[in-house]
């Protein structure tokens, strides 16, 4: 059994743009904005970077294929840079590349950058895309809200919840994120909402209303990682280290086998078990101080609380309504506002989550600062409930 990557890599600097409708900013502007913040935070010279990973999802509508846009924007000295794409886990995949490179000893300092310019696609929501030459022949022409809405119908039926009661818990998810996002100057949506506003919003995909859906934005985020000794040599005494990074892609079971009942994300459960083990977390409810999960839709966040083992099966709605995941609750979720308020520039999202956890662990989260966070967990779910890629990262402080 491999020993894993716990504490082998430290985050020494991070940057994150303001997310939003950045009509006048190019991908080059966003990447530069995130990068300059990250290198300044790390206190290193640009020339000290030895490798980079660049997360971009919609390449044809964004910066084009390959990683050279990153190399070009930053005028990197021809160091190896790699473009990665793994659905909504793309940003986290960029980070995993950099973290693995450092953990392997292949390089001392590496960078992960994620960027997406969704507002250049012209779509409300995510653009249409092909599913490949075979799957286009039979897969439904689903949209993300429609695909995730499926969780709600199945969850309500399984746990014998009236859809109106489930909707109320889902509304609380969005309400809480807007409360948090209102405090975050980098969030896209900073308006508070009432539960009634959320419940009365027009339906996008039954039973999801407009406010059950996350925003659509432009943004970029960047992390610079290094071996802990290097971080120490740079004068860091409080080190944020990577405790675990786990990825679980579907293998087709949810899509084609009856064992999956449609009420949860199987891959999150698999990735969580491995991540907790790698991080040495035996009781996530006690050890995890905050989560940034993939709240593309309110119902996703609700079932994720169970998939991450933070709520008992069937109890997430009650726990949510009890305020357990609110800013003042036991395990705050989306303390930065989440995808709900940041929107979801796909390549950047995983790194944006990491950015919040990094700042929380360093005590730099300002108005949103939580008391003595121990472990922070970032979670992405790329794809749709019945076929996806789940990525879980756990970060903590190494004294």
């Amino acid at each position: 059994m491999a020993e894993g990557i716990r504490d082998k890599v430290a985050i020494i600097g991070m940057g994150c743009t303001r997310f939003g409708e950045r009509w006048d900013a190019s991908p080059e502007d966003l990447v530069t904005e995130a990068f300059e913040e990250a290198v300044a935070d790390a206190g290193i010279n640009r020339s000290e970077l030895e490798a980079g990973w660049f997360g971009v999802f919609y390449d044809e509508q964004n910066v084009g294929k390959s990683a050279y846009p990153l190399s070009q924007y930053l005028r990197l000295p021809n160091i190896p840079v790699t473009r990665v794409e793994n659905l909504c886990a793309t940003g986290t995949e960029a980070l995993r590349g950099a973290v693995y490179a450092v953990a392997a000893g292949a390089c001392d300092i590496a960078m992960a950058m994620g960027c997406e310019k969704l507002k250049d696609t012209g779509f409300a929501g995510l653009p249409e895309r092909t599913k490949g030459t075979f799957e286009d022949l039979y897969q439904p022409n689903f949209t993300p809200p429609g695909a995730f809405a499926q969780l709600a119908a199945a969850y309500a039926a399984k746990h014998r919840l009236a859809i109106t009661d489930l909707k109320r818990a889902m509304a609380h998810v969005s309400w809480k994120s807007h409360e948090n996002g209102a405090l975050n100057p980098k969030a896209h949506l900073r308006k508070r909402l009432t539960i009634e506003q959320i419940l009365e919003a027009p339906t996008v995909a039954y039973p999801l209303g407009v406010f059950d859906c996350c925003g659509v934005s432009d943004g970029a985020a960047c992390a610079i990682v290094a071996r802990p000794e290097i971080a120490r040599a740079l004068g860091r005494d409080r080190l944020v280290t990577v405790k675990a990074m786990q990825l679980a892609p579907s293998n087709g079971v949810e899509m084609g086998h009856q064992s999956w009942d449609g009420t949860y994300t199987l891959t999150t459960r698999k990735a969580a078990a491995r991540a907790y083990k790698e991080a040495g977390v035996s009781d996530p409810r006690a050890d995890i101080s905050l989560t940034e999960v993939h709240d593309c839709f309110s119902i996703t966040e609700l079932v994720l609380m169970e998939d991450l083992g933070l709520s008992d099966e069937g109890a997430a709605a009650r726990d949510i309504l009890d305020g357990r995941y609110d800013a003042a609750g036991a395990i705050p979720c989306q303390i930065d506002g989440g995808l709900k308020c940041f929107g979801h520039p796909i390549g950047a999202s995983g790194l944006r989550m990491t950015y919040e956890i990094y700042n929380q662990l360093l005590g730099r989260a300002g108005e949103r600062q939580l008391a003595n966070p121990k472990f922070g967990l970032a979670h992405n779910l790329g794809g749709i409930p019945n076929r996806n890629v789940a990525a879980i990262s756990i970060f903590g402080v190494k004294s």
Partner: protein, 480 residues
Amino acid sequence: MAKFGVLDYGVYVPRRRMARRAIFDAVGWAQGGLRAYAKGERAFAAWDEDAITMGVEAARSALKSAASAPHTLAFASTTAPFLDRQNAGVIAAALDLRSALRSMDIGGSQRAGLSAILSACEAPARSTLVVAAEKRPVKSASVLEMMSGDAGAAMLFGEGEPVAEFITAHSTTVDFVDHFRTEASGADYSYEERWVRDAGFLPIVADTIRALLQRARVEAGDVARLAAAAPSVAALRALAEATGIRADAAANQFLDTIGHAGAAHPMLAFAGALDVAAKGDLILILAFGQGCDAALFRAAGAGRKNEMARAIAGGAREENYAKFLAASGRLDIDWGMRAERDNRTAQTVAFNKSRDIYGFVGGVCSACDTPQFPRSRRCVNPSCAALDTQKDYRFADQRGVIKTFTEDHLAFTREPPLLYGNISFAGGGNVFMEMADFAPGEAAVGAAVEMRFRIKDVDTARGFHRYFWKAAPAEGAAHG
């Protein structure tokens, strides 16, 4: 000597039924004379139905208890979606018939369905599946918009124990232009109704019937059922009178419930006659169009199916004329950016996966008996995952239940909202797929579904469209 005739039959009527009164309410300001037709309903195809899909559904019903695959498949329609790409071939693929099959498209006249039947009757040693279906193009505020209907019918002919034995047939050919349709005209151009009835339909059809009855040595009064596609109920009544056929034999030709379904209509009427026929009943089926085909059958009186009642039941009445227009593409709606998606088909893949997509044939693992779609190299069962163990498994005729669903108002469809979800099949297997024919609010977790062959996507840039199966409310299961 083995008996030859109709071994089995099936019909398909689209769920959507337009109230003729609602058509009149929308267009009566322009054509006040249509008030005379503003009674009853007409069936109309959804945006994802065409002559092929309706033909497939009728054929599935006709083949339900067939002992063997037909030798020949003949598809009759004047509205077949492909001008050059055999439409019968698509139907054969959807029925998952073996490739050793003679297949043909027959069109060009509303006689096409019966013409195909007569060809089948001339080669009694070989079984023929005759499929006829129409999705009739019409212009707004026309009599045809009121009186035509979309539907499909199928009949299996061969030797055995027929529900109706073929006796004889007679045909005439007269180039009488009661109506025509060309690519340029788009919809039918019809001539004056009284002239059509008095100078065309009545004399041509009556002459053909007389010749047929003479050949069969049957008195007109002995015909128990007349199965016909007449321009109107009144024309049919006049025909009965002119030929001496009993008036009650010419009753109920489904014009008030379905409408005139073109080349498919004589077969619909024939199916209706078979549903109620007693042993020994003589059924005269006839089709009119640049002449007349007429054939005489003798009912065995066994194997009654109640097929027309089954197909007509469960209709969803529509009173929104704009939705009726949109279903046939006559209302050009701005569907937004999502409708711009390029639906170009990789024919290489479509051919390799033809049985998967058209036949809805997946795999069943010979190691663990798990059905799965699509068929794959490794079994999907997580506790099996055996390599290359899958045998063919057809999902098309399996029922299932809705495991998850949504009504998606964001996704593009020509009839929003788009319904789709995970379907859990009764024999095993789970497929994430689109749904059809659910009324808003009707879908529910646990609801029973069955498969329907439908248009999946339209490639507007190239004029192509592709087909797949959709989950529809199971017949006989409670709606809502």
